[in-house]
């Protein structure tokens, strides 16, 4: 019994029967997910499968049509605003764009959550911010404005900001998209290192297969509103699911069709544009 409870407690984020639509488009159709404590869990899938939407649902920025999401035992969508904000203080999020505040410099961006949520003396805030910037290798860039940073640097600053309050989990939204190979390597290293050193739980949403597989302990593959595959990177690489194979091996055609649905090719050509 004790072992069973321990196993339950291992799950930090529990998604059950989640359904979500945007207008008439069904994004999730009753999916179940478990994010385990202290692990790097990747949510992968083709563009437009709702990976970012899933993070917004976990963070309480969107409400599901059906189903429940529990974070650390709390049902996110039944919390009052104040309780939700308390929970969010323990959840860091790295946005795809970095989402840095553009009118303040790197130092103030990282200090922002600390100043908003604590009354720490400025000397302590300074030490805290410099420690986090050192962890992402950008202590020397503290006086730069966000417009002076490269895409990779902006994401590292955003990462420093996401961990400045020592959260229990960090959600990464497409951290590798649009990055050069060096920046990708830096981010892969950072996510792995921070997860281990700070004892975080990480949720990485990505469609970069090799980078994500290199750091993920467990991967969920989403497509068409369903979980079409799950397992460790090794298990997924040996999967016989056509969905998983197409995604992991970057095949152009398969269950996710190359062609957007359309009427017959010959009929379309012969029709002569008489729509």
């Amino acid at each position: 019994m004790a072992a069973k409870n321990k196993k339950l407690d291992d799950v930090l984020v529990k998604v059950r029967g989640l359904s979500f639509s945007r207008g008439s488009r069904l994004i999730f159709d009753g999916i179940d997910l478990d994010i385990r404590r202290g692990k790097v869990t990747a949510i992968m899938g083709p563009s437009g499968t709702g990976k970012t939407t899933l993070l917004k649902l976990i963070g309480g920025q969107l409400r599901p049509d059906q189903g429940a999401i529990e974070v650390d035992g709390q049902n996110v969508h039944q919390l009052h605003r104040a309780a939700l904000f308390e929970l969010r203080k323990r959840m860091g999020m790295l946005f795809q764009s970095g989402a840095l505040l553009t009118d303040i410099n790197v130092f103030d961006n990282v200090a922002f959550p600390v100043r908003e949520h604590s009354k720490l003396p400025e000397a302590l805030v300074r030490d805290l911010v410099l420690m986090k910037l050192e962890a992402v290798g950008l202590r020397g860039a503290r006086d730069l404005m966000p417009s002076e940073l490269s895409g990779g640097m902006a994401r590292r600053v955003a990462l420093a900001r996401a961990i400045v309050l020592d959260p229990m989990m960090v959600m990464y939204d497409e951290p590798f998209t649009g990055q050069d190979p060096i920046s990708k390597g830096v981010l892969v290293e950072l996510i792995h290192k921070l997860n281990t050193a700070l004892g975080l739980t990480s949720v990485v949403v990505s469609h970069d297969v090799s980078e994500t597989a290199a750091i993920a302990d467990y991967i969920y593959v989403l497509s068409g509103g369903k979980v079409v595959g799950q397992g460790t990177p090794d298990e997924l690489s040996r999967s016989d699911s056509a969905w998983v194979r197409q995604f992991m091996n970057a095949e152009a055609d398969g269950p996710v069709p190359f062609h957007y649905p359309a009427e017959g090719y010959v009929d379309d050509l012969m029709g002569g544009g008489q729509d």
Binding site: G59, K89, G92, A99, L101, F112, P113
Partner: protein, 257 residues
């Protein structure tokens, strides 16, 4: 039937948006107490929406006053009433032109900037980022701008009117030879503090609140794309300008009947 469906859809969409705008205003009003502990944010926004609008207000006020002086003199001189130029210029500015023209300039200068700023913050996920950092963007971003707009607008309108009267004086007395003493004594005798000045201030406070509300809501509700922000900015200037005219009629009817 298609036109009927479209009409119904746009009507529903209009009322839905109106409802969102009022819920937004309620959230802003509920967040006002949070500003008590954030004086620095208010000062920064007073600078951005108030001080940075000063130049356009000063220049426009001066020229509007000068034109009023010129046109007023040409009309009044036919009746031998050119000594009344001061009161004509002052009443026109304090009652109507000061609040209304300053409000238009405020909508064009500060209102559009507020919409673009908030809209771009939304498009670049800065507002979402704040929410995920457990920081309420209404309290942190919107409320200081709202209060700054409501404070800055009447001050700018007062400056506009004062500079306008000075412009009328420069043209009337300095250029066209109206008697200096007559100009000021008529202003002193005929411009009432409560009936004219206070009513003008009330108008400009109302305009300031409405323009800032429209500007902030348009930014907050903007479609988060470059085209969406561009449309929202245009809507701010158009809606705010029309709202100022409509409200001016209502307030004038209530104040000066």
């Amino acid at each position: 039937m298609l036109w009927l469906r479209r009409l119904g859809r746009s009507g529903l969409s209009f009322f839905e948006r109106l409802g969102r705008a009022h819920l937004f205003l309620l959230a802003v009003i509920a967040g006002l107490p949070s500003l008590l502990f954030r004086g620095r944010l208010l000062l920064l926004q007073l600078y951005a929406v108030g001080v940075l609008s000063l130049l356009i207000i000063l220049v426009s006020g001066l020229f509007v006053g000068m034109v009023l002086g010129l046109q007023g003199y040409n009309t009044l001189v036919d009746f031998g009433a050119e000594e009344s130029l001061g009161v004509m210029v002052a009443l026109s500015l304090v009652r109507e032109l000061g609040p209304v023209v300053a409000a238009w300039l405020f909508a064009g200068r500060a209102g559009s900037a507020l919409t673009a700023e908030i809209g771009l913050m939304k498009a670049t996920e800065q507002l979402s980022g704040m929410e995920m950092m457990a920081v309420d963007p209404i309290k942190r971003v919107v409320v200081p701008r709202f209060v700054a707009g409501a404070i800055a607008m009447p001050l700018l309108a007062a400056i506009f009117s004062a500079v306008g009267v000075l412009g009328g004086y420069l043209v009337g007395v300095g250029l066209l030879g109206v008697d200096d003493g007559a100009f000021w004594s008529q202003v002193q005798n005929k411009v009432g503090f409560y009936d004219d000045v206070v009513n003008g201030i009330i108008k400009s406070v109302v305009f300031g609140v409405v323009i800032t509300w429209i500007a902030l809501f348009e930014g907050y509700d903007a479609v988060p794309t470059s085209e969406g922000v561009s449309r929202a900015t245009t809507r701010t200037v158009v809606h705010a300008s029309l709202a100022v005219l409509g409200l001016d009629f209502v307030l004038t009817a209530l104040m000066f009947d």
